[in-house]
Subunit: 161 residues, 2 copies
């Protein structure tokens, strides 16, 4: 029934501990992220990909960005991003704006409605993060969290492009 107490079938038990440890860590953060995105989806009808795009656009000068650059930053392929953009255009969040000086590029530009939704969703997101992450952890642990992340990015290939 219980062969974990006295048996040791293979010498890789440490492996299992490490993999389990990492699994729990990832699971915890993913669960938090899922709840957060679920809230955004419920309240604003924004799937994660669309919310991410809105955040990037509302931070951009003139609230616009070339499609390709946006796709790259959101870690989407151009083909995949086309359909995300289609849905966002249909929802009146962005519009496609041809570039005057380079007719290859199309800007994704935030509509007034899109800017409004982005700001409100960002506010809700920040409030929830404060309540469910920052406050419980405390600033010190939150800082450690970001530091650990920075270490991971530095060790592994941090490809900024």
């Amino acid at each position: 029934m219980h062969n974990a107490d006295n048996e040791r079938p293979d010498p890789h038990t440490d492996d299992d501990e490490i993999v389990t440890w990492w699994g729990l860590v990832i699971e915890g953060y993913l669960a938090t992220q899922d709840r957060l995105m679920g809230e955004i989806a419920d309240k604003f009808g924004l799937p994660p990909a669309q919310f991410d795009i809105l955040l990037r656009l509302v931070r951009s000068p003139e609230h616009r960005m070339p499609m390709t650059r946006l796709a790259k930053e959101a870690a989407l392929t151009s083909g995949g991003f086309t359909k995300v953009a289609d849905r966002m255009v249909a929802a009146d969040l962005i519009r496609r704006q041809p570039c005057d000086t380079d007719r290859r590029v199309t800007y994704a530009t935030l509509t007034d409605h899109g800017r409004d939704v982005a700001n409100r969703a960002r506010r809700v997101c920040a409030d929830t993060l404060r309540r469910t992450v920052l406050t419980p952890l405390g600033t010190e642990a939150a800082f450690a969290l970001a530091n650990a992340m920075r270490t991971l990015r530095a060790v592994n290939g941090d490809r900024p492009a």
Copy 2:
């Protein structure tokens, strides 16, 4: 051009900082996880869902578990899990084993080949984690990471099933 230096169009700049902070944290861990799963997929042909299932089975008594329980632990719907199981049966990683005492339940049972793949993949996974996460972070930071995760799980709904 640069309206971030001297302008402050809305009073929610702190919101943006928090959301950005969390986005970077999530992105860092997800990138690590993606690389890890990419390695497992490349070397063993195991998609993340299948690898997760294998780990749970290899830890289980008699290397088997009822389908529904497995689906629940892997955060999949029963319908979605059926097809994952189909692929794993086709790859000779698991087989479906009817239960003697309750003819509703079907066990997912690890095949010999499945057990072998699971052990080798787990070893690779643990080695990579040691090299790219545990060693760079140090045991203290790694401990802090797990602690922060535990806090998050405690604050938000920790459903132990």
